[in-house]
Structures are given as structure tokens and as C-alpha cells.
Amino acid sequence: MAKIITYTQAIREAQDIEMARDSRVFICGEDVGVYGTAFGQTVGLMAKYGPMRVLDTPLSETAITSLGVGAAAVGLRPIVVHDFMDFMGVCMDEVLNQASKLAWMVGGQTRLSMVIRTQAGAGINAAAQHSQSLESFFTHMPGMKVVASSNPADMKGLLESAIRDDNPVIVLENKTLLGMEGEVPEGEYLVPIGKANIAREGSDVTIVSYGMMVNRCLAAAETLAAEGIRAEVIDLRSLVPLDKDAIFESIAKTNRLLIAHEAIGFSGYGAEIAALVAEEALDYLDAPIKRVTAPFTHCPFSPPLENAFVPNEDKIIQAVKTLM
């Protein structure tokens, strides 16, 4: 059974189901309880599970993340919420040196089952400190998993899997997808972490993407199809671990690769994909690899500038054409 709900509702539902299922699961963060956060992903959960399991905290990201680390180290399963990914600079040590390393540093005496839910992306005129896509940082931290969803169903399934995972997992939400509606299976629903989704099949070019940008890639693929170019769109869903095989199999068929993401290109996550292909699957390629990303600058406030900053269908289409 499935029903149509929004991305935000999918997030809420995944947490609800997992909290009902496992009493060790709790949510903590600023304004997650009474308010349900400014974007509504936890609305109603405090009323249902009480103030310990949906814990409003002081404005202290460092301590919030550490609260997650300490509670996870002794067996609870926290969902730590940082509204905007941009704020995670203030608790980077807790992610980099504590959460991602603790289980390993103690030789596996404990596990660190902790989810960090946070929002990436531009597009709401929130300017340079509220619009970043910083996922590549977290993909450079062994021990940390990173997932991103392009639609409500995957959001629910990935988040439930992340909550059940015995490792720390960063779950990226996209600000501009919060209101997106889609069919979502009812009840427990797990999307495996580490498995990409072929969002659209095609034989002429492979487009690898994740998160919000997948939808722009799909739209671009639709337009390209009208012009006779059949693009295969791979929605990675999981950045770490990465489903390399899905990419390699696709380019074995298409011989062309475009990588699209909202983050800045330079040292962005797309660089790793390109590097892996250049190392392990270069022979498949009949054309250079292309990246469509935000340019190497900060996200500007002014609407026309922000529009130019965030990659769009046009840029994807143009880039694909240079590959053909």
C-alpha cells in the first residue's frame, strides 16, 4: 500500500515508525519538540513520545552532537537534528573526530548508531551561510555513511535504514524538496544504504546525481529524449558507501558520463566519482567526463544571482550535448 505524502511528511513518518519500533531511538536538537522545527519534520512527535524522546535542546550544536555521540556510545540510537548543514561547521569536530572514529578507535567495543539529519541546498534566498551543500566533507570521513534522497519514498526508506544502521549516518534533506509530493509505501519501509537507483534508463549517456539535482536531471533527460538523446539517470541515494558498480555498468553501456550536483564542483563529491571512473573504468569512456555543479563561489542572495548559481536543466542539457 502506498499513499501520496510530502518529503517532509516522509521524514516525519520514518522517525515515527522507527521510534515506535525501537525505544532506544530518540530525537534531539534545537526546536525539534514543541515547535517541530521551523520546517515541520518533527511536528507532533513530542506529543506522541514525550520530551525525553523528542528532546528540545539549548542552542549548542557542539553539545547536541556530543550528546548523540555519548548516548550512542552506550547503546541508545539518537537522531541528531541540525536544521541547516551550514551550521555543522560548529560541530565538525564532533562529527569528524568523535562520531566517525569512536567505534573504530575503541576497537569495536561499541558501535555508534547515530543519525544526523540535516538540510542541504540553495534555492530559498537564504544566502551564503544557509545554502551550502557540504556533503563532500562527510564523504571524506571513514566510518561515516552519507545518504541523500531525491523524493519522498526514498527519503522515508533511507531514513528508516539509517536509523537501523549500526554506524553513524548523515541523512541529507533538500530544502527545496520539502514540499514535494510523491507516492510512499505505508508502514515500515527500508531502502538499502549503498544501492543506487536507476531513475531513468537510457543508452546514450549516463547522468549520475543525487538529492534535489536528480529531479533536474530527470527533467533534462525528458527534454533530451525529445531530441533523440536517451540519457540514463542514476540516483546514487547513498554517497558512502558508493554503488560504484551501478555507475560502471551504466557507462559500459553509454560510454559517456555526466555528474551533476548542487555542491560546488572543486573538491566536491563529483570529483570522487570522476576520479573513480578515471581510475577503474576509463576504457568505457568515449568522451571526457563532465561535471555540472555550482560554480566556485559562495551562494549569493540576490535572486538573479542565486538562479545563476544553482545548476539547472539547461546547464545539464548543454553539458550532455557537448558529450555527444
Binding site: E30, D31, V34, Y35, A38, D56, T57, P58, L59, S60, E61, T62, D86, F87, G89, V90, I124, N125, A126, A127, A128, Q129, H130, P295, F296, T297, H298, P300, F301, S302, P303, P304, L305, A308, F309
Partner: protein
Amino acid sequence: MKSLKDENREEMLELLRMMVRIRAFEEKAARLFLDGKLIGFLHLYSGEEAVATGVCACLREDDYITSTHRGHGHCLAKGADINRMMAELYGKATGYSKDKGGSMHIADISKGIIGANGIVGAGIPIAVGAGFAQKYRETDGVAVTFFGDGASNRGTFHEALNMSAALNLPVIFICENNQFGMSTPFAYHSKNKTISQRAAAYDIPGVTVDGNDPIAVRDAAAIAVARARTGEGPTLIECLTWRHYGHFVGDSAPYKKPEDQTIWREKDPIPNFEKRLMKEGVANAAEIDKIQAETEEEIQAAVEFAEESPYPEIDVMFEDLDFSPADRKE
């Protein structure tokens, strides 16, 4: 409440004018937002005007301030240009940042405004750096940082207060305790009854004042600024206040109790100060109306300026990322 008898009349009218200007700016911004003319996040300062006004009344142009996400009031009070500020909200090229920044990043370095900041608490230790620069250059300038009750629980607060105390820097910490960090009440996010009591942790003076009374704020700030100018180090001032609206335009603030909202609306700094000026014979109704009217004109002019300004060229987003050494001012 202190009598205004011994106060300078011009200064009193300027205090009022600044509060009225900030309020008018914010109310106009809210209206423009609701009319779909402004976009993004707008955190309004309405209700808190006495804080920025009272503090900045003690500052010179060569003093520095750092501000917050709720920064319009601080910037206006420290002398930022209202036209350029309005243009900034509109996303126009004539804004302070060529419009790359927007509401949360207004700055006017020439006026000592190092900037609003979208990261809560980030401005606090930046002011320590500005205060350090004053001491390094052996000026008698100071640095002031504004921040909220929510921000007082960030690690930056602690590191900044300790560092300023230990290094004896001319930094003044102005905590705007408006009772909430977003939806979270002060009484929930802190066990301490006052924020000023945290000053004792660093052996520096701490004081709580009525943040809706510009005179009380100014008096506390004047003492702190005098101490800082004469090498006596930092002070923490907590100003009790209230934001009239939600956390941002669009937040209906369901977490606020209606009775509190009523109580605090009665403490609105502007009508109260106006009444006081009239009661104590400092100003009459006509003079006050004139200030209101003049301010309305200013705001109207600012809106026109902003609306008529062009959007920035796209390439502006690549400017100011790399200053080649050749550009360097020696």
C-alpha cells in the same frame, strides 16, 4: 525609571528618532515581504529597538560592532545607510554587498559594522578580534557584540568572554535576552536566572537592565564603554526585551503565551519613551509626530531607492574572492 530632567534634549530626540527609524524599517520590511516584494529570511528587530539605540548612542564611528541574524537595528543604530540597507533586502546592486549578502549579512566597514551573521554566536568572538585590534593599535576604541539569549549557550560566548577577560580587551558583550531562542524559552534553555550572572565566571562585571528602556541601556553601556576605553577590560550587559513578532517573518510564534505577549506589548519601548518625553516635558506631541513623519519619508525614499536600483550583474558573484597582492593598500 530615571528622570530625564538632566538629559540633553537633542540626544533624547535622537534616541527616539533612531528607535522610530528602526521600527519603521522593520514594519516596512514585513509589509514588503508579505506583499511578495522581499524574499529570504527576515528576522525583525521590532520591540528590541531600545537595545541597539541605547548602546550605539555610546559609540563612535571608529568603534566596531558585530551583529546577528537579527541585525537591521544594530546596523541602523551604528550609522548604516538606510537606502543601501533597503536595497540589500531587495537584492539590488546598490546594497551594501553588491547584493551578495542580503538581510543576514549587512555590513558597513567604514562605519565599524563588521557585519550581521547567519551563524548564531559567530559574531561574538569576531568582536574579540576587533577589540584586540583596538588594543594592538593602542587606540581607545572599543568593540561591541550583540547576541541573543539563545547564542549565550554557544561555546563561542564562553571562549570570547574568557579570552577578552584574560587578555583584558576592550570588548562589550550585549546580550539581547528576548526570552526565546527561536521557539525555545530562556527558562528552558538555561537554568541560570540571568545571563549577566555568567560574567562572574570570568571575573568581569555583569549587569541586567531593562532592555526596553533606552536610557537604562545607554547608562549601562556608557559605564562599560568608559571602562573599555580606559583599559579596564570587558563587560557583559544583559538587556531584557521581547520581539514583537515571530522568529522570522512567516513564523506565527505559537510558542509564545498570549498573556506574555500582552504584557510585553505594553512595555513597547517606543510609545513608552514617547510618553516619558512628553510627561517630563522634553518633547511635545508635535515634535514626536514630526519625527514619525520624517522617518516615514526616509523609509519611503529608501524603498524607492531600492526599487529603482538595478539587480547586480551575474558576474558580481565572482568578485571579491581573490584580491591579488597588487591591489594591496600598503
